[in-house]
Symmetry: D2
Subunit: 154 residues, 4 copies
Amino acid sequence: MPRPKPFIREQRLNTGVYMSNPIKMVAEMYPWVPFQKLLGIKIESYDDDYAEISIPFREELAGTPNVYHGGVIASLIDLTGALSAWSGHDDKKGMRASTVSLNVQYLSGAKGEGIVAKSRAVKRGKELVFCSIEVFSVTSNRLIAKGDIVYRIV
Amino acid sequence: MPRPKPFIREQRLNTGVYMSNPIKMVAEMYPWVPFQKLLGIKIESYDDDYAEISIPFREELAGTPNVYHGGVIASLIDLTGALSAWSGHDDKKGMRASTVSLNVQYLSGAKGEGIVAKSRAVKRGKELVFCSIEVFSVTSNRLIAKGDIVYRIV
Amino acid sequence: MPRPKPFIREQRLNTGVYMSNPIKMVAEMYPWVPFQKLLGIKIESYDDDYAEISIPFREELAGTPNVYHGGVIASLIDLTGALSAWSGHDDKKGMRASTVSLNVQYLSGAKGEGIVAKSRAVKRGKELVFCSIEVFSVTSNRLIAKGDIVYRIV
Amino acid sequence: MPRPKPFIREQRLNTGVYMSNPIKMVAEMYPWVPFQKLLGIKIESYDDDYAEISIPFREELAGTPNVYHGGVIASLIDLTGALSAWSGHDDKKGMRASTVSLNVQYLSGAKGEGIVAKSRAVKRGKELVFCSIEVFSVTSNRLIAKGDIVYRIV
């Protein structure tokens, strides 16, 4: 549910460098959003309607020894979905955003290895963006969770 | 998705104190599960089929200034639902558990105040437990999110 | 996903009787919406943010002998949620509507008896209404499913 | 939520023809399940972990003139997901089944044309099968909804 507008506004006061591309700025600031920083996210790539974000494994993120907590996976699904909604968004339509709803299915556990989420925005309405997200283990490359979000940008 | 079994086993090696009540032990260990410690959860209460867990506000958990990241709320829904499934569970039926699926609807934002989740396990099948969760802001006492999980204990 | 506007418009051509209360008209027309007629729905009651709708048992609605098909239950959750969103809606804000998303958890089966859904609209945003729905068996009065919808009226 | 076992058992009493392939029998009986007959489903194809089922447009299935009711789409997602779970299932592991949970996102409306759902079972656990489903309009070939189910066969 990151709503980057305040960061954008703040940034505008300090520098003019991002003003020509607010979407790129959202992506560049993404790892600085406090909870996203706490998770240690790494943006792998993003393109129109697409985003790919990873989290290296740290024991602090575990629910059981060596296995990510379900909340970490849900968070990664939420924030990767959100970035795929931002990517390809026309900033003239507004820059205030939040997650409307989130669904996650947990398929298997990733043990002691990083995870990466890949999200695609499959439909853009006037305000709502529908995103489908899959989460893979980085080393063993197994599908460990899937989900979707409805994201709203106004 | 916490699967407390390993913690239980470990504990048994050290002390015998919890062996007579494994469910109570799950609850007492809950704030020590690494990611739950990172979130700073506080168990308010639990009883058969019920659990109530809060997270005091910290800027590290924000998605925008002063507002919880959606991932924090999803995590709280997951882990509070799980504790309500544990509460009232018959440990002789097994102690291995994981979340099957999670749904969250985001209703409004909590600004700079703590949140508390209240979960009820509304149905216990042979392996699956269905839990309904509501999240409130602590000071203004508004409903800020609701969700449900399907939890599996075997 | 019923979008009653066309029915409303049509009705206006014929009579003026409903013009003063479009929401009441939506409710009165509800059993005439073709698929809702096929299901044989019966509106039990509705009030601000609330609706209660039943379906008497018919073998045609079964998935296995004597048990409702999951699709019937999902449909009842959708359409009861929608009516609770209409109830209490300010018609001046618009009368075009559709379901954004639907979640259902199946808890137990109703055998050869009617079902009734009770829905509450728990949050109204500018366009989106969030509804929580429970489905009970009519005779044995057991909770057989629960769900929620996000509904949009513009 | 179709639970075809009773049909299977009944069939066994009458003929021996299906006994060597119970999964094929589930598929062949699928259009006869009462509510699925009422919807007028047509099985397009199925293969291991995959199923494709269509519903030709009929005004009886409408929520607004010429547009499918959301309940029809939810039903199609449920029953197509279920068939993809059956396809590839080892019948020796059991033949009793029901839907655990269902999620649907409504992306756009199909106007006066048939719809077809395509489902893939992406994960088989010991009892639970996770299926992802997309629904397309047949003529205009647009993605009109997506969803997932958790299905249980024991």
